[in-house]
């Protein structure tokens, strides 16, 4: 591995993450490693390592981290969050990092689709006449589908 000049990294990055919704407790970590020890993803894909991700945030490896594909491999099982003795709330840190990556245009292609769908139709799956017919056949009530509120609330 190439030697990195610590001064070239951004010491403000950790404070920025701490200012994000979900990242508030990032600096409480003292690298005990229980998150990585219990993470089910780490067992299958060792590159995804919560303790290392936190360390990268604290040391300021912003660009290296936000472009990583593995940020999107967390299964949000919350095991790390439940185990952490410092209540770093790492699952929510992942959400914060993902938010930052999206803002920088570094998210995988499909992720932004959710935003579009919701702001247009308020639902992930459209409920049209076809869907309501099927429901009626099974004796289930119709779904109205009210996108207006979402169009207002989620305008970009």
């Amino acid at each position: 591995m190439e030697r990195i000049d610590l001064k070239k990294l951004d010491p403000e990055f950790k404070h920025r993450v701490a200012g994000e919704l979900g990242g508030e407790h990032i600096k409480k970590c003292f690298a005990c490693g229980i998150c990585s020890a219990r993470c089910p993803i780490e067992k299958i894909e060792p590159e995804y390592n919560p303790r290392k991700i936190i360390r990268m945030i604290l040391l300021g490896l912003e660009d290296e981290l936000l472009k990583e594909e593995f940020l999107w491999h967390c299964s949000t099982c919350y095991t790390c969050q439940e185990s952490c003795p410092q209540r770093v709330n790492f699952t929510e840190v992942i959400f914060a990092l993902r938010n930052l990556a999206v803002r920088k245009g570094l998210a995988p292609a499909g992720m932004a689709a959710a935003q579009n769908l919701l702001s247009q139709q308020g639902r992930m799956y459209e409920v049209g006449d076809f869907e309501n017919e099927k429901r009626q056949e099974m004796g289930l009530p119709k779904i109205k589908g009210n996108p207006e509120d979402y169009q207002k609330l989620l305008k970009k």
């Binding site: 919350y78 919701l118 979402y150």
Partner: protein
Amino acid sequence: MNYAFFLGCTVPVRNLNYELSARLVAETLGLELVDLEDFQCCGFPLKSVHFFDSLVIAARNLALAEKAGLPVCTLCSACGGSLSEANHLLRHNAELRSQINERLKEVGLEYTGTGEVKHFIRILYEDLGLDRIKEKITRPLSGFTFAPHYGCHFIKPAEAAGGIDPVEDPKSLSELIEVTGAKALKYNTMLNCCGGSVLGAKEDLANTLAGQKLGEVNQLGANGLIMICPFCNVMYEGQQKKVEKKLEQKLKVPVLYYPQLLGLALGAGPEQLGFKLNRVKDKDFLKQFEKED
């Protein structure tokens, strides 16, 4: 016992069997599930993209329920998690709450934090109780064994979920299975994550996760794997064939929703419980419950 019935996005379109069986069970047991037609997406898919906005739309749903004066009942664990986490967060963070309410003003709503969110399973276990359910069992499922799949967002994070079940050693779903007369399996991978959240980003990784549980349950030969969330269902039922290929072993793990199981014990027939829509099922098992008429 009245609840605002929160269907979410997936269940009412892709898992009608879950919705059908839940409604039937609720009616039989005296729970009233009220449809609020303005309910929309809970916000879960938006968390990774824009956390704040996901809280806005979660709060909108909560505000609607508050207005109706009803606690929320969710079928999907992701919805349950998203709404209860939002509820917990906004109750304790006044500044965030006022920021959210600023946005909700645009649609004429206000979130006050006076509402409750409970997963359907939790309502059965806590609000109704095992005794009340037992009274209504007409056809005990003795001799059968089912493997409970708790999933992750039903009991975690414990704070937001109201500490319903100890995270390391939950019992609620297992006891609900046993009240039907069947045995609930306790197995090594019982608390494993289904991998549903990763399916979009890396299918192979998700399938590996799902395979861990399917492999064990298949080996132990349970009569079925019990679901309480449509995401988990996608992984265990929908992806079972792909997982089979990946593990290079034949898998025969019937997958069904808990209300479908309970419904059978309450005397309903497979048709009424939407079993037609189950993709991996044990036809022989279901034959015993078919109604003549």
